[in-house]
């Protein structure tokens, strides 16, 4: 699962700390999300989408597993 969090965050000049505080997670979680190491839960995905005033599909890009 890829995401555009870093791109949207930098576009709006928001720090990782600000985003983390707004969606109720630690900065480390935002770092992991941006680097693709961690995939957000549905609840967190909604919170992030609401924060950026976008839809989940605009932020998170689902890539089908090659094994599927």
């Amino acid at each position: 699962m890829k995401n555009r969090i870093r791109e949207l965050r930098k576009g709006r000049k928001i720090t990782q700390d600000d985003l983390a505080e707004a969606v109720g997670v630690t900065r480390q979680t935002i770092i992991s999300l941006e680097s693709g190491k961690y995939t957000a839960s549905l609840q967190l995905a909604f919170k992030i989408a609401n924060y950026f005033d976008a839809t989940i599909e605009e932020i998170f890009i689902y890539e089908e597993d090659k094994n599927d």
Binding site: A20, V25, T26, T29
Partner: protein
């Protein structure tokens, strides 16, 4: 009052409870003139444990910002995922290492120790099965 603040309050009561039980055990040991090699250290440990929790509570509850920061730290979903995965890994390792130890101890002719570990592994697997049934009903 938010859910987290209620949780914090409960932790405060728990800390005071630990200290009170510790004092009762400590004093009880002295009053009843029993062997204090158990009661005194046990009571003192409970008092220290309660005191540490109390200090921790006051450090967190001093202002709204610290409470919010601590709440985020404790409810952070990535952190909860790490805790859950680490617990899974520890459980699997325990079963594997336990199984290996049971066989190794049999070869070393340490029947009693081998049996103890085998019982412990079986108990854990049984406990897992019960927990699986409980969680299955919930979700």
């Amino acid at each position: 009052m938010t859910e987290y603040k209620k949780k914090l309050k409960n932790r405060l009561y728990l800390a005071v409870g630990y200290m009170l039980i510790g004092v009762v055990i400590l004093c009880g040991g002295f009053i009843l003139k029993t062997d204090n090699s158990f009661f005194a250290p046990f009571g003192a440990a409970l008092i220290v444990c309660g005191a540490v929790r109390l200090i921790r509570y006051f450090r967190i509850a001093r202002d709204e910002q610290t409470i919010r920061r601590q709440e985020i730290k404790e409810t952070d979903e990535r952190n909860l995922e790490i805790v859950s995965r680490a617990r899974n890994m520890a459980f699997s390792l325990y079963i594997m290492l336990g199984g290996t130890a049971v066989i190794a101890l049999q070869f070393a002719n340490m029947q009693a120790e081998s049996k103890m570990i085998a019982y412990s592994v079986c108990f854990f697997v049984f406990l897992y099965w019960i927990c699986y049934m409980i969680v299955k009903r919930k979700i």
